[in-house]
Symmetry: C2
Subunit: 250 residues, 2 copies
Amino acid sequence: MFKKIKESRIYENIVDQVFEAILIGDLKPADKLPSENELVKIFGVSRVTVREAIRYLEQLGVLEVRQGSMGGAFVKEVDLGDIAAQMGNVLRMANVTFLHMAEARAVLEQMILGKLVHPDRTKEWVKKLLECVDRAEDHFRKKEHRERIRANFQFHGLIAELTGNPIVILMHKIIVDLSMVFFENVKPSTSMIMKTLEDHRHIAELLEQGKTQEAADICAEHIREVSGRIVDKSKTQSFLRSKIGREDPE
Amino acid sequence: MFKKIKESRIYENIVDQVFEAILIGDLKPADKLPSENELVKIFGVSRVTVREAIRYLEQLGVLEVRQGSMGGAFVKEVDLGDIAAQMGNVLRMANVTFLHMAEARAVLEQMILGKLVHPDRTKEWVKKLLECVDRAEDHFRKKEHRERIRANFQFHGLIAELTGNPIVILMHKIIVDLSMVFFENVKPSTSMIMKTLEDHRHIAELLEQGKTQEAADICAEHIREVSGRIVDKSKTQSFLRSKIGREDPE
DNA sequence: AATATGTATAATGTCTAACAATTGACATAT
DNA sequence: ATATGTCAATTGTTAGACATTATACATATT
């Protein structure tokens, strides 16, 4: 008969108003909100409350707060990287294992290469892909472990960008950012590194020849194989333990 | 030569500590943090700062704050739904169109059905899938628009759950939650509704018969078709405008 | 003239102390 | 037994002050 009264804190009201102003377009990226003291007058609430709303929106990634004389709260262009980082933080606590991520990535990239690639846009990307491989190989020779991994993941990131679909790109980025931590903490064998370079080149070539389906299959297989070896090496059960690496277990 | 000093606000320090305590397991879901006043003593900062940290973690979805005598800040089980909702809010501002979502979902479900289904686990799910269709049909007869849509989307949600992979489930949920808004604001034709019920039954049957590839193809086609018609009906260019439905465009 | 260096200013960051609102537990009255 | 009232604990909100930071501008130095 009666509806439960929705609990609401004052700052949520402010958040909604600002959020909507941004959605509607009254506030655009780089615009500056009134100063906290002005907002206090505008909304008729205390500064603490105003600040809670600003914090919330900052955390959400839609505001950026700068201190100082020309500072204030500025509307920020939504950055997929920020979102991905934030998501990653939370996902660490949600029973997500490395294998889940590997499998999800395999599926994503397979579907991208197999289904979402526009043939006419392919060729311009092949060059970029091969550049990544060259860069990775260079880092390998210079024994720059971290940089090599980044180049290799950039290769996979390019595959996601091939779709031009922001949702796909974001999902992929979330997974990659989380996965990368593992790779950075494992010393792979030389043969494994070589195989990766080889696979990547192979995928790029197949794309160039328009053999998208074949490229998709090899890509998925490649991800599963490399990830499997990583798991063997790190004997990681959960993302949690490897991430924290607690020295003193009681 | 020198590293840029990482700006840090005091509350971020507290957030990190609490976050790590949760990751390590010192704090488990349903555990209660000390009261704000105690935290003030523990961290040696003001209550305002403590509260900022709590807000942040609450917004992130890892804490739940209750007022009152037995209240306080409690560690929350991470809920994929919360994460999806949060992501959805931000994605609204990132040039995401309905067609992006439709395409991502089509390909995602196609991949799931085609590649990720464990044959031995299929049969237990077919029953659930058919239940969804029955429920949708029932709502259709009772002309419960909203409920019918929810049942239909639950059908697709089950497909994602078929993977048992939390990342895949999450990605799918984000897309579905965002997409649903559109469907709820469009009055579909009867034939369209019937076709959907029919398609869903067909997909379930094919799964039961182990024809996963066929089910995958039909599912993808189904999503594209329905989404295409939605777009025609709503003439929606961007998610933004349809969501806000501004009456007064300058 | 170009380059440091200081200074004022405006904004956010933090602190303190109080009061308001909410919730649950317990006592009390009916 | 069932309401009802009261108390205590906790978060929500307010007010005002001071601390810190970043920019712009004036001033001094070379």
